[in-house]
């Protein structure tokens, strides 16, 4: 103000005073804006990272819970089914068997054999549920066709699958992950949708494998999927997400344009995505 008061008569002095003041205010304002804007951007990014971590924690918990459930199921199958069967077979083949008459001996051995056959079948079923042999030996196409035939064979629902372009198989671990995702999706459709048919199609486009499932029952759209994925429930969906994350794949839930069907599309890259490309994207 000292400067302004001392030079009120000169218009150049006034311009000089106001110009200097204006320049300083502008510069300080700009610097403050840059500082606060950068802080805002960094806070936003930190929040995003925090959310990402939370999401990963939920997925990890889901996969651990799923693993535990699978172990419990296995333990229950072995303890409740295989255990009693083998114990019964043991009863038939006890030490007293040699003291019995031949007819009783033969009957006991026959009963024990029957029980052992049942046990073998049971263990085979458990083993198949862990790793389908069709998938291992003949690939995803055969395993999916097999699964759909079994579903269709039950007569409850009409299930069909068609692989348009699957001459070259994906890597075995990729196939297993995709198969598990498909199993979970089909299981969900059977449990919750009440649809009359399920139709699966497969195709390759731009080095990505696309698998689409159509059904006419009650279904999910993307927003429902994301909501369930973030909530504490929806273990199966979280499992789908975590498996697809490992594959660097994507999943999209939508309703058909005709509003009659629900579509679920899985997109999985044929080759493994390099880590640096993932971070860049």
């Amino acid at each position: 103000m000292y400067l302004l008061q001392s030079n009120t008569n000169s218009p150049i002095s006034l311009v000089l005073f106001l110009g200097t003041l204006g320049m300083l205010i502008l510069t300080i304002g700009l610097i403050l804006f840059i500082i606060f804007h950068q802080r805002k951007v960094i806070r936003f990014q930190l929040r995003l990272q925090e959310m990402e971590k939370k999401q990963q924690k939920i997925l990890l918990n889901a996969s651990i819970r799923l693993q535990e459930e699978e172990r419990q199921r296995l333990a229950a199958d072995l303890h409740d089914d295989a255990g009693p069967l083998l114990a019964t077979a043991r009863l038939y083949l006890n030490e007293n068997l040699v003291n019995m008459d031949k007819a009783t001996q033969l009957q006991s051995i026959f009963q024990a054999r029957q029980i052992l056959d049942d046990t073998i079948q049971l263990i085979r079923n458990i083993s198949h549920s862990l790793m389908p042999p069709t998938l291992k030996n003949f690939g995803l196409e055969s395993a999916v066709n097999d699964l759909f035939q079994k579903i269709s064979g039950s007569g409850v629902i009409n299930a069909s699958s068609r692989f348009h372009d699957y001459k070259e198989r994906l890597k075995p671990d990729k196939e297993l992950f995709i198969f598990r995702v498909l199993q979970e999706l089909v299981n969900n459709i059977l449990k919750h949708s009440g649809s009359s048919f399920i139709h699966l199609t497969q195709n390759f486009q731009n080095d990505n494998c696309y698998i689409r499932i159509h059904h006419d029952g009650r279904g999910l759209v993307q927003s429902d999927f994301e909501k369930l994925n973030k909530s504490k429930s929806g273990l199966g969906l979280k499992n789908i997400s975590s498996r697809l994350r490992v594959l660097h794949g994507k999943i999209h839930f939508e309703k058909d344009v005709s509003q009659t069907y629900f579509k679920v599309t899985i997109e999985v890259p044929r080759e493994d995505v390099p880590e640096e490309m993932l971070y860049n994207s």
Binding site: N7, G19, T20, M23, L24, I34, H37, Q38, I42
Partner: protein, 189 residues
């Protein structure tokens, strides 16, 4: 940092010579020239964008040519050369704000004020923006009136030096230690 060190020594010498011979036009022109070149060089090394670096070189060359041209054509007319200082200020302000824009978009550094260059550039920008109009009008006003305003330039110069000092302090802080990636836990046993 070397640029800043060189700039400080040369500017100190020129100021000392000006205090001995305050009417030497060459010393004032040299002061502006050294200041501009030091600031332009500093910005050149701090900018990341290659195109921007090229433009800084072009602007620097333009300033050098302009300074030579002005020195030969209008030598000895005015003590303070408004054109030279005006061009210097505009060039440095443009690239300083571009530097700030680069830093604003760079989220690799946690906060912009944790880098030493931010403090140096802030000091430069405040000093040049604040004294811009005073230097521009220095030729048009009588010397007695210019002297009244000179206090603003001195205050801004002190402020610039304070910011430069903060920059040096920030730069001298030891970098954050990063744990070794191949740390062997067996060595703890």
């Amino acid at each position: 940092m070397r640029i800043l060190f060189g700039y400080s020594i040369i500017i100190f010498l020129i100021n000392y010579l000006i205090s001995k011979d305050s009417n030497n036009v060459f010393l004032y022109k040299l002061f502006t020239f050294v200041e501009a070149i030091a600031f332009i060089a500093f910005l050149f090394f701090q900018l990341v964008n290659r195109s921007a670096k090229r433009i800084v070189i072009v602007a620097g060359l333009f300033f050098v040519l302009l300074s030579i041209f002005i020195s030969f054509i209008f030598s000895g007319i005015h003590l303070i050369d408004s054109v030279q200082i005006g061009v210097e200020t505009i060039i440095i302000l443009i690239f300083s704000f571009y530097y700030m824009y680069e830093r604003m978009n760079d989220t690799s550094t946690l906060y912009v004020y944790s880098t030493f260059s931010f403090w140096i550039v802030t000091g430069m920008v405040l000093y040049l923006a604040g004294s811009f109009f005073i230097y521009i009008f220095a030729d048009s006003l009588p010397k007695a009136e210019v002297d009244k305003y000179w206090v603003v330039t001195n205050v801004l110069s002190i402020l610039k030096n304070i910011f430069f000092t903060i920059g040096i302090i920030v730069n001298s802080k030891p970098p954050r230690k990063i744990p070794p990636s191949d740390f062997e836990f067996s060595s703890l046993n």
